[in-house]
């Protein structure tokens, strides 16, 4: 039980890693609804645990070389310092990564315990941090080129392609989760491997070492992080980092998985060494930074216009700021744990070694790399407290030791309660934020649906309006054609009538004169009772029924003739043309226009035709 308490800080770190970094693997797939969250969470959880147990040792070894945190209290403190750094920097919206936080915290432990920090290892780690995103970018460019070439050449149906992409996203997601587990488990559980020694579990076919068991527990913490909290991050952050097409998402996840795999595979490193090349440094790298590197790689391939170069600055800031912050927090926390709770954080062992060297008691000093068995730690604590604690303490009675132990337990309990309160606070806050965001999301979805349906109906209406507009134009043209034909006919009949009058003046023959009179009368009758014109009037009334109705509503005193004139003016006909249609003189039309203008109270500056055309 006590182990679980000490491991809690590492498990919290694992939980936050699962909650945040799973979005790097399945964020785009879930955000774009290509894969359901449930499927993504199951696959990611299984493969993270597999990666952690099978391949987690490589990166852990390098962290161990940087500083092998030798006591469980120190391991707890270092992991807690890293977790608090990640939490605090995330809250402050500063770029942060678990890998960099844990390295900083280990260096903090090195400082506190006066352990020398191996600069060669540190350089190797920092170089990997820089080369990780660069390598991710290079992989992304190469893979993106390959995908482009393949998709350009292939003539697969879009739906088949969609299915392939879904399965592809799932496969690379599984690989990404495996690599994440393999590379990043050292961040979560690495500090505990030097301090906790669990008995080997032998299942016959396979054996699980203490480290693998710890990594399994860490993997479960990551899996819990994925299932409990990553959905929210996948649906928001996962997709908003940069909208990626599903093909680009495969490339990014695969690049990230490859980089993380390369920096955690002992087998690959050995294989490279066997052909005479230098070994690959097995170091935990930030998956988020590799993802950013990969996205930038794709952006560069596309021309580099869309890249926000300030993000590179924020990554660099993360490289420097995170280890420093984590180191300082770790240093002060170790001081607190060491001096207030009187817990061995590795300092005592240092003293022990010095004493041994001074006494010349052995050539093999008890170094910081030695593993402490948990069951022995309390005993050793009592040993060290009697043997190597300051002189005042050495002389203290058994009673004083007992009261120190009580204080220690009270202090630890308070710390435990404080952590529980902090976790509860974080959980409730997270839940509240999730609820609010969930509500916002559902509202957004509702509005989106509404907008979609409104857009559709608007589209339909615009379509309909276009059709109606076409029909209106067509009908107006039709009426104008009709009007023109009436005008032509009436003009012709009028000129015929005038000709008859001229001929009649020169003819003396009574019979012919009578005939001409009859002809002239017929023309006059035809002009006044013109069937075409009647039809046209009917047509005009029919087409303009709405317009006439509105006109009558607004100006109730309008006469039928005035309404007819208004309808003709709406067709943009000239006074002469209207005169011909109505079989009245142009002068009468002008007079009627004047009366109409007065009745409609049209501003003298505005044309009557414009006023009528814009009336509806």
């Amino acid at each position: 039980m006590i182990i679980l308490f000490y491991l809690s800080s590492g498990l919290f770190l694992g939980w936050s890693l699962g909650a945040n970094d799973a979005a790097n693997v399945f964020g785009t797939a879930v955000g774009s609804r290509m894969i359901r969250f449930k499927t993504a969470a199951i696959v990611a959880s299984i493969f993270v645990i597999l990666g952690a147990v099978i391949q987690g040792a490589g990166a852990n070894h390098t962290l161990g070389k940087l500083g092998n945190v030798s006591t469980i209290a120190a391991a707890f403190t270092v992991a807690l310092a890293a977790a608090l750094t990640v939490y605090w920097m995330t809250r402050m919206s500063l770029p942060v990564s678990t890998s960099q936080a844990i390295v900083g915290a280990i260096i903090g432990w090195n400082f506190y315990t006066s352990n020398p920090t191996d600069l060669g290892i540190l350089t190797k780690i920092v170089t990997t941090w820089v080369s990780g995103p660069i390598l991710g970018g290079v992989f992304a460019i190469l893979l993106f080129m390959l995908v482009k070439k393949l998709t350009k050449k292939s003539s697969i149906h879009l739906l088949y392609r969609d299915s392939f992409i879904r399965y592809g996203l799932l496969a690379v997601g599984a690989f990404g989760a495996y690599s994440l587990g393999a590379n990043n488990i050292a961040n979560v559980m690495g500090v505990f491997t030097g301090a906790v020694d669990l008995p080997v579990i032998d299942l016959g076919i396979v054996q699980f070492s203490s480290t693998q068991q710890l990594f399994f527990i860490g993997g479960i913490a990551i899996a819990i992080g994925i299932t409990t909290y990553s959905k929210h991050i996948m649906e928001t952050v996962g997709n908003s980092l940069m909208p990626l097409t599903p093909e680009a998402a495969i490339v990014v996840v695969l690049s990230q998985a490859l980089v993380l795999f390369i920096f955690s595979s002992q087998g690959l490193s050995n294989a490279i060494q066997s052909i005479g090349l230098p070994a690959i440094p097995l170091v935990p790298v930030s998956s988020s930074q590799v993802v950013i590197g990969s996205i930038i790689g794709i952006g560069l391939y596309k021309g580099g216009k869309e890249i926000k170069y300030n993000i590179l600055g924020s990554i660099s800031l993360g490289w420097v700021a995170t280890p420093i912050v984590a180191g300082i927090i770790a240093f002060f926390m170790l001081f607190f744990v060491n001096n207030v709770f009187q817990k061995d954080v590795g300092v005592d062992r240092k003293i022990e070694r010095r004493i041994e060297i001074v006494n010349g008691s052995g050539t093999k000093a008890v170094g910081a790399n030695d593993t402490l068995v948990l069951s022995n730690s309390i005993e050793k604590k009592s040993d060290t407290s009697t043997d190597y604690t300051p002189v005042g303490k050495e002389q203290s009675s058994k009673h004083e030791v007992g009261s120190t132990a009580i204080y220690l337990w009270i202090g630890l309990s308070i710390l435990f309660i404080a952590i529980l309160v902090l976790l509860y606070y974080l959980w409730t806050k997270g839940k509240k934020v999730w609820l609010v965001k969930h509500e916002i999301k559902s509202l957004e979805e509702k509005y989106l649906l509404k907008i979609e349906s409104l857009e559709k109906s608007l589209k339909d209406k615009i379509h309909r309006q276009d059709d109606l507009g076409k029909e209106l134009k067509f009908r107006q043209g039709e009426m104008v054609t009709m009007a023109m034909s009436i005008i032509h006919k009436n003009e012709f009949l009028n000129s015929l009538k005038n000709e008859i009058v001229k001929i009649k003046a020169n003819i003396r023959d009574q019979e012919i004169r009578l005939g001409l009179n009859k002809l002239s009368l017929m023309i006059t009758q035809d002009l006044s009772i013109d069937r075409d014109r009647e039809k046209f009037q009917m047509h005009i009334n029919e087409q303009n029924s709405n317009f006439i109705h509105q006109l009558t509503e607004t100006f109730p005193s309008m006469t039928d003739n005035e309404k007819r004139l208004a309808s003709l003016l709406r067709l943009n006909l000239s006074s002469k043309e209207i005169a011909s249609i109505l079989n009245i003189s142009p002068k009468s039309v002008e007079m009627n226009r004047y009366r109409l203008r007065k009745k409609l109270k049209v501003d003298p500056k505005v044309s009557l035709s414009d006023f009528i055309r814009n009336f509806l």
Binding site: R33, K152, S155, L158, Y160, R166
Partner: protein, 216 residues
């Protein structure tokens, strides 16, 4: 998580079947117009019945395709565009059916002088639609090739415009014997037939935009 390939195969088949149905509908429309102009009443009635059936099948298939897309969230980034495209394809058979029914309901009198023009108009307008369907099929397989397949659609659409304008010109300039109402009636029918090519052009525009979107 996703459709099994078997179901994808079924959906691909449904989409192809849908486009085939609309294509057949357009061909039936052309034949129907020719039957009407030539006075082949029995054949014309048969075409009306066939286009009615084809339009119903197209509607059924469209609903099925819609359901599949949404229930399995297929092509989530392009689903609204593809639905819009399918709507536009369906519009073509809807209009073809309506137009053929208009011939049946309004029985326009087509003078002998205009018979060839109307047949040519129907032929060209339908040809525009027939040219856009292969592009729609190609969109699902090779979106980048769509653009080069659309030149024919635009050509036939312009041709249909020209023929339609020519018919109207003849009606109002040369055919003095016809009553104005007849002229207007015939003009309407030229417009109806021409609408098929207009919709094909609108679908072509959409396809070329979608192809561009897919290439980015």
């Amino acid at each position: 998580m996703s459709l099994l390939f078997k179901n994808v195969k079924q959906l691909v088949f449904d989409i192809d079947n849908f486009i085939d149905t609309v294509e057949q509908g357009v061909l039936v429309f052309k034949e129907g117009v020719i039957n009407y102009i030539n006075g082949e009443k029995a054949s014309f009635a048969d075409k009306i019945e066939r286009i009615d059936r084809l339009e119903a099948t197209a509607d059924k298939l469209q609903r099925k395709i819609d359901d599949e897309f949404y229930s399995h969230s297929l092509l989530p980034q392009n689903v609204s565009d593809i639905e819009g495209m399918i709507d536009k394809i369906d519009e073509i058979i809807d209009i073809a059916k309506d137009n053929l029914y208009q011939f049946d309901d309004e029985l326009p009198f087509i003078p002998k002088e205009l018979v060839n023009d109307y047949i040519r108009l129907a032929d060209t307008s339908v040809e525009a639609a027939l040219s856009v369907f292969p592009a729609a099929r190609t969109f699902f397989r090779e979106p980048l090739k769509v653009k080069e397949m659309l030149a024919k659609v635009y050509f036939y659409e312009k041709e249909a415009d020209k023929i339609s304008r020519n018919i109207k010109r003849k009606l109002f300039h040369d055919m003095k014997d016809l009553h104005l109402s007849q002229k207007i009636h015939l003009r309407y029918f030229a417009l109806h037939i021409e609408t098929i090519s207009d919709r094909a052009e609108s679908l072509a525009d959409m396809l070329s935009i979608l192809a561009l979107k897919m290439s980015i």
